[in-house]
């Protein structure tokens, strides 16, 4: 038996992980993912908008990532004394 064969015998076989999803559970998984998006997205969207300029919001802004990031809104918020 060659060294290569010994290594091949001892090494654990690579088995790709598969996720078994019974067909009956597909609608439930779709619903749960849809609700996840619906529950989180508005909060995420507010976070995106908070780092955009006002002009950008009213013109053409992105749904996923802000194009021109600005910290001006946060600066204004803190200057207006949110911590007091």
């Amino acid at each position: 038996v060659s060294v290569a064969d010994t290594i091949a015998l001892r090494a654990p076989r690579y088995r790709p992980r598969t996720i078994k999803l019974p067909l009956g559970r597909v609608p439930m998984v779709i619903l749960s993912l849809a609700w996840l998006a619906i529950a989180i997205y508005p909060i995420y969207y507010v976070a995106i908008v908070s780092v955009e300029t006002r002009t950008k919001f009213f013109s053409n802004h992105s749904l996923l990532l802000p194009a021109d990031i600005t910290g001006a809104n946060y600066a204004t918020t803190f200057q207006n004394g949110i911590l007091h």
């Binding site: 019974p22 009956g24 559970r25 439930m28 619903l31 749960s32 609700w35 996840l36 619906i38 529950a39 989180i40 997205y41 508005p42 909060i43 969207y45 507010v46 908008v49 919001f57 009213f58 802004h61 749904l63």
Partner: protein, 298 residues
């Protein structure tokens, strides 16, 4: 004999503080509102006796009748949207697994925000003409149906119902999750031995066992729909036109914007009585009042 008398005295003493608070802060204002309902009063100048005029107006005023119809429509729509979704999600996340626990935490995020914050964000950043919904519609080529969802009389009511659902589905999901976790595992194990499918287990075990949770959730949705105020007020103020003016908003606008305190009080009493009747009917029809335990019938 003496013992039972002592017991009655102790019970009376223990009940008295709660009863006093209920009388002063719940029943008292209701009786006062009913009394003001007989007055013609603007809240500042001297009041005048109006007799049954305000009460008659509650059943003849087209705006109030429309508000009443809208309230019942909102009630039905809220139940139809919230109950199936929260039931499904609650049952789904009740099973113990790591990813479901993570999902549960994320699902409940809307519960963290106040109605005012939710109302402002949804009406200005999500549902407005330049909001996320319209940006998304344009991105997928459906720009033709993009509109001001809160500003249009045709869509405002549904937009408000959707936001109310967004706010309250997590809470009802939590109720169903807790209810599902109380169902004994032995029932599912027995069903599994009999070869029952997931759907069959849901239909014949989960749903009947969640009966009282469904009634509790339904009562909260229906009674809540009667008194939804803050979110609608922030989002639309009852408009455009009368499109989202439910009975609670009609009461507020009548009493504090139109300064007809007497008529507003009459509407408030109608609202309170409608809530009481609805709650009593739900308890009577569902047999909820006769229930001794959630595990009844096992």
């Amino acid at each position: 004999m003496i013992r039972s008398r002592e017991r009655a005295v102790v019970l009376a003493v223990l009940t008295a503080p709660g009863l006093a608070i209920f009388l002063v802060f719940a029943l008292g204002p209701m009786i006062a509102a009913a009394g003001i309902g007989f007055l013609n009063w603007d809240g500042i100048s001297a009041s005048q006796w109006a007799g049954g005029h305000n009460w008659a107006k509650t059943v003849t005023d087209p705006v109030t009748l429309r508000a009443l119809r809208l309230t019942f429509e909102l009630m039905a729509l809220s139940w139809l949207i919230q109950t199936p979704i929260s039931l499904a999600l609650g049952v789904f996340i009740a099973k113990h697994s790591r990813y479901r626990s993570v999902l549960a935490v994320l699902y409940f995020l809307p519960l963290l925000f106040s109605a005012v914050a939710i109302g402002i964000v949804w009406s200005t950043a999500i549902l407005s003409r330049s909001g996320a919904v319209n940006v998304l519609l344009r991105a997928v080529g459906l720009g033709g149906i993009a509109t001001d969802w809160v500003g249009s009389p045709n869509t405002a009511f549904y937009a408000v119902a959707a936001v109310i659902a967004w706010q309250f589905i997590p809470f009802h999901t939590l109720l169903y999750q807790a209810g599902r976790r109380q169902i004994p595992r032995t029932l599912y194990e027995a069903a599994l031995v009999d070869g029952a499918s997931d759907w069959s287990q849901f239909l014949h075990i989960t749903l009947p066992q969640l009966r009282y949770t469904i009634i509790t959730s339904t009562t909260l949705i229906l009674i809540g729909s009667l008194t939804y105020f803050d979110l609608i007020f922030i989002m639309t103020g009852g408009g455009p036109g009368f499109a989202t003016r439910t009975l609670s908003l009609q009461m507020y606008i009548t009493a504090f914007q139109d300064t007809q305190i007497g008529y507003g009080s009459a509407i408030a009493v109608v609202l309170a009585v409608a809530g009481l009747v609805l709650a009593a009917a739900l308890v009577r029809l569902s047999g909820f009042g006769a229930m001794q335990s959630q595990a009844e019938g096992l």
